[in-house]
């Protein structure tokens, strides 16, 4: 079970209160977590990753265990604490604009 925390606007869009928990098969990676998230909440397709390229949208960041994982490979294993469900995987809207 992977815990995911979404930004306010995506929680509102998907009608989610609080954290989301998703089940994945195999290794816990950005790709497997986001695939599971989008399968459960199809409205989130295209809001975190591009529909076609599947790349992270420019103003979206990924954090976990106080690390910025945004530039990690989508197939790199997530930290063990995330895979074990002890720490959440955070999807964050970048602070931009000023």
């Amino acid at each position: 079970m992977i815990r995911v925390i979404l930004p306010f606007h995506l929680r509102t869009l998907a009608r989610i209160d609080g954290e989301v928990e998703v089940e994945i098969e195999g290794a816990a990676t950005q790709r497997s977590v986001l695939d599971a998230l989008e399968a459960r909440y199809p409205v989130l397709c295209g809001t975190i990753r591009d529909h076609v390229t599947r790349e992270r949208r420019p103003f979206i960041r990924f954090f976990a265990c106080e690390q910025d994982l945004s530039h990690e490979s989508p197939d790199s294993p997530l930290p063990a604490a995330v895979a074990a469900g002890n720490e959440p995987f955070l999807v964050v809207g970048a602070i931009a604009g000023g």
Partner: protein, 395 residues
């Protein structure tokens, strides 16, 4: 009894303003989709309770929303929460992917950029949603970078009408200051195959076969700021309006110049006449008087606000050239708002109502064809679009 429903898209959400036919007291509902830009909302002529909204964000991309109850509740077609991980088809209502298939004949991938180089087409947002005149589940979407999409399943999935980008002039299109957007979609009310669209800064285009093939319709336009002022494409058309009962006659607010066509866009002539400035964005046509048109003159392309700080609508009752200032109820001083291209609309009550929204968050209404104005609301976020539904026998 009749009822008027005004659909307002803003920088920070959507609002729905409703009144009875007197249009004196208004019920304001919203915001919907708070914190998101709502570029446009529009109701289906075939089912007025079916509304579509374009909800967009620089962070999270494009969302299409749909209502089946006049805006009381909304859903993302095909994208709602699933009951089980495998129990729901993947939502594609937000997926706008340009058609590069060989079937289009010319799989187009680049257009002209600001610096004159060729630049890849990149989807950014939906500027305008135009529901079909006859089918509530069919809706057109004008997008940035400029292209026309259509859904025939109520917004659940979208397919590009690629003949527009592929007809030949696409590599010459370039973005205007607001981006390369397809912002105007007008369906001919007598010829189901005919659709007009407009793009900044490419110009106006028309199809006569339901979107399969297209041609530029810019003859007569003159734009001094482009290398060839009378080029086939490259004109910064801001908006086009048409009275549904006379589909061959079009009125255009170009970057500079107010224009008119009496032959379905085959040729245009200027009707700016005595306007104090012919720069502007919004234009519309009276619901019953076919030669009565409205514009909101803006000082210039460098100063996007009304002349002398006085917000004014100008009305022509002669189809252009002779314009009268409409001032009663509008700000007399210190007004430096803009009125965007999709932020003016008319109702079709016997006494035609006219509405427009400003970047200052005001939505003004006139229940007497522009003679008198009053704000319905004053402090919304900047208004991006205004549409009106006239609902008969609903109150």
């Amino acid at each position: 009894m009749s009822k008027v429903r005004v659909l307002v898209g803003t920088r920070k959400g959507a609002f729905i303003l409703e009144s009875d036919g007197k249009r004196e007291k208004w019920d304001v509902k919203g915001p919907h989709f708070t914190g998101w830009e709502v570029y446009h909302m529009k109701g289906s002529p075939a089912d007025p309770n079916r509304l579509y909204a374009s909800q967009t964000s620089g962070w999270f991309g494009q969302i299409i929303q749909r209502s089946n109850d006049g805006g009381e509740t909304w859903e993302t077609p095909g994208g709602g929460p699933t009951k089980s991980p495998q129990g729901w088809p993947q939502g594609e209502s937000n997926k706008f992917v340009y058609d590069t298939s060989p079937e289009t004949g010319k799989p187009l991938t680049t257009h002209q950029f600001y610096d004159g180089t060729q630049h890849p087409w990149e989807f950014k947002r939906v500027w305008h949603l135009e529901p079909s005149l006859t089918d509530p589940d069919t809706v057109y979407a004008g997008v940035e970078d400029a292209a026309l999409f259509r859904s025939t399943d109520g917004g659940r999935s979208w397919q590009e009408l690629a003949g527009l980008r592929g007809h030949g002039t696409g590599p010459k299109w370039q973005p205007g200051a607001g981006g390369m957007c397809l912002h105007t979609i007008i369906q001919d009310t007598k010829d189901p195959g005919r659709i007009y669209i407009a793009i900044s800064a490419a110009g106006a285009f028309r199809t006569d076969d339901g979107g399969k093939t297209w041609k530029p319709i810019n003859r007569g336009l003159r734009s001094e700021f482009i290398p060839d002022p009378t080029a086939e494409v490259g004109h910064c058309v801001h908006h086009i309006a048409m009275n549904p009962s006379r589909p061959g006659v079009l009125f255009m607010q170009k970057h500079w110049d107010v224009m008119r066509s009496d032959d379905a866009g085959d040729s245009w002539h200027e009707v700016s006449g005595n306007l104090p400035t012919d720069f502007g964005f919004a234009i519309d046509v009276h619901a019953h008087e076919l030669e009565t048109i409205y514009v909101v003159p803006i000082k210039s392309d460098s100063e996007h606000f009304p002349l002398d700080g006085k917000l004014r609508v100008y009305r022509s009752r002669t189809g252009g050239n002779e314009w009268e200032e409409l001032a009663k109820g509008l700000p007399e001083r210190h007004c430096y708002v803009n009125v965007f291209r999709d932020a003016m609309a008319v109702d079709s009550l016997d006494q035609c109502g006219v509405y427009f929204g400003t970047t200052g968050g005001q939505v003004y209404a006139s229940a007497d064809a522009g003679d008198h104005w009053a704000p319905i609301v004053r402090d919304l976020p900047p208004v991006l679009s205004v549409e009106v539904q006239t609902l008969r026998g609903t109150l």
